[in-house]
């Protein structure tokens, strides 16, 4: 049975996590995502799970470290400055190959910034953020339903690949309400958790560690991780295309920016312009082959981000010189209107003689 309910983004994430079997949540308050810990504080006791407010983001992510070592599905959430504090432990989780779900509801920055929606943490999310040669799947939902569905998927991806997985939203995604279908998590076959620490009953002790003093051993571990990341690159990329079939100009945008772009594209279409949208759903691994296919058909890309331009690097890496890429961005927590993007589209259409 599925019910349709009106839900806020943050609540959708929390409820999806619970229904995905998340039984430990550790976090520290920061706007605009406080509704996640608040929801968890109410909901976890109902399902016999653990909710604990840590004394900092550092403590919270390290509690996650302990809980996932014990084999429990665990989540933490925060917003930009708090995510910066979690980076050291993310590096530990990545190399100790432990699954965890981390939510970043991005806000304006750098520094303390503001609490408005923003996409300035793309580099931090997709380029590691923490130290060392690791990668981490990064998922950027574009609606409240997707926040719900992809949070569930994030737990499966984390368990399948034994890796931390980051959900990258922004203040708009977190605070917006939309009707969504609440459903149970689809059944997925997952590997047995043969690494967990539950007391060495009838077996030798297990060690989860990252110190490998021997350089050759450390290199081996890095190549092992690399092979896993290659597998992720094959299996995980996801994207959504909207009216790209005949589009001459394609807007490339993710998350909230893609929603704004959709409004603009609809208006431009109504005005007779052949435009479409390519929306990466996974930011790492980036859906580069799908984007390359679109690049082969279109004439111009307009990369639109709520930042001064970060994802555009991945777009260019994916398409090389095959297509010209223009950029439009509004950083700092400014939310552009669809009309604003429509104007840019119109101007480019005329300027580039599309």
């Amino acid at each position: 049975m599925s019910d349709k309910v009106l839900m806020k983004g943050t609540d959708a994430i929390a409820e999806a996590a619970i229904r995905a079997g998340c039984r430990c949540y550790f976090g520290y308050p920061i706007t605009p995502q406080n509704e996640i810990p608040e929801y968890m504080a109410r909901r976890m006791p109902e399902v016999g799970g653990v909710f604990l407010q840590g004394e900092s983001e550092i403590a919270s992510i390290n509690m996650v470290h302990g809980a996932v070592a014990a084999g429990v599905r665990t989540m933490t959430s925060s917003s930009s400055p708090g995510i910066s504090l979690k980076q050291e432990c993310l590096s530990f989780l990545a190399t100790q190959e432990l699954p965890a779900v981390i939510v970043n509801i991005m806000r304006g920055g750098p520094g303390l910034g503001n609490i408005a929606p923003n996409q300035g943490d793309y580099y931090q999310a997709t380029r590691g953020g923490g130290h060392g040669d690791y990668r981490m799947p990064v998922i950027a939902p574009g609606s409240i339903q997707e926040l719900y569905d992809l949070t569930m998927d994030a737990f499966d991806i984390a368990d399948k690949f034994r890796s931390p997985v980051l959900i990258l939203g922004d203040g708009m995604m977190g605070q917006m309400m939309e009707p969504i279908v609440i459903h149970e998590k689809p059944e997925v076959e997952l590997p047995e958790k043969d690494y967990i620490l539950d007391g060495a009953r009838g077996r030798h002790g297990r060690v989860l560690k990252s110190l490998i003093l021997n350089a050759r051993g450390m290199e081996e571990q890095n190549w092992k991780l690399k092979r896993k990341y290659d597998l992720m690159r094959q299996e995980l990329p996801r994207c959504e295309e909207y009216m790209t079939d005949d589009a001459k100009l394609v807007v490339v945008a993710y998350g909230t920016a893609a929603r704004i772009a959709k409004g603009a594209v609809k208006r431009a279409r109504a005005g007779g312009l052949q435009v479409g949208i390519f929306r990466p759903v996974t930011l790492w691994p980036f859906p580069d082959s799908a984007l390359l296919e679109v690049a082969k058909k279109a004439k111009l890309f307009l990369v639109f981000e709520m930042s001064t331009g970060q994802m555009i690097d991945d777009v260019k890496l994916a398409v090389g010189n095959r297509i010209e890429c223009e950029f439009y961005g509004r950083p700092g927590g400014v939310i552009p209107q669809p009309k604003e993007i429509e104007r840019i589209i119109e101007r480019l259409w005329l300027q580039k003689e599309l």
Partner: protein, 250 residues
């Protein structure tokens, strides 16, 4: 011939990498003996530190998860909350527990987490080569306080154990020393008590152990034990700082 002394069964047949005269070896053995005697091997998880004892997992045949520097008490919190049937202990140096990890330690203690911390105070950063620690004694020379620690510049030796004893969540807090064989035996008793407090679900327990680091104190092993008694014990007074099971009975 009858065997009267052997390696604890929970310990691996691996020679310690610790310097000769280092307290970590003694403390490891005490913990190993207690895991055997209390029959804990198949139900205990250790969170080793970043510090000389990071390689503890090479010596114990028990489950272990290595934490980032200082975060042991947070990792142990997560483990214990996720699986309350486990016995969980952290093993931490003075830098780990009372510099970079101060917040995680105090808050875990204050929440009364049902974990045990073994805090090895050797007054220096051993692993990184003998830099000043929060517990470095006034006047003590280290590689980053070459003229000797001065209260004016570096502040006073930090007594995190006294701080923890003030917290309502802490059930058992003790400080011991390895200076003599009798004191080593007393240390073992304190660790046992701390583990029992955890078993009984009473609250947070911590044992600070004053421990020699001859290498970075730049003395030989015998002089190190003398320094422990003459200097360290004067600054950090051994004793039971808190035991709520006592006050309850009283």
């Amino acid at each position: 011939m009858e065997k009267i002394f052997s390696r604890p069964a929970c310990m691996k047949p691996a020679p310690f990498h610790y310097c000769p005269g280092c307290g970590h070896s003694i403390i490891h053995r005490l913990i190993g003996e207690l895991i055997d005697e209390m029959n804990l091997r198949e139900n205990i998880v250790c969170v080793p530190p970043c510090g000389c004892a990071v390689l503890a997992y090479d010596y114990f045949d028990i489950d272990m998860v290595e934490a980032a520097h200082g975060r042991g008490c947070a990792v142990a919190t997560g483990l214990k909350r996720a699986n309350p049937s486990l016995m969980v202990f952290t093993y931490q140096g003075d830098g780990d527990i009372s510099a970079i990890g101060t917040a995680e330690t105090l808050h875990a203690a204050n929440r009364g987490e049902l974990i045990t911390s073994i805090f090895v105070n050797n007054a220096v950063y051993g692993m990184t080569g003998g830099q000043m620690a929060p517990t470095t004694i006034l006047g003590q020379k280290t590689t980053t306080s070459p003229a000797g620690r001065s209260a004016r510049v570096e502040g006073y030796p930090l007594k995190i154990t006294e701080l923890i004893a003030q917290l309502d969540g802490a059930a058992y807090v003790a400080r011991n020393s390895l200076a003599t064989p009798a004191k080593v035996n007393a240390t073992k008793k304190s660790i046992k008590k701390a583990l029992e407090i955890q078993q009984q679900g009473i609250g947070f327990s911590l044992v600070e152990i004053l421990s020699p680091c001859p290498t970075n104190w730049k003395v030989n092993a015998l002089e190190a034990f003398k320094y422990l008694e003459d200097v360290m014990e004067k600054e950090f007074n051994p004793g039971v700082l808190k035991d709520i099971t006592k006050s309850r009975k009283a």
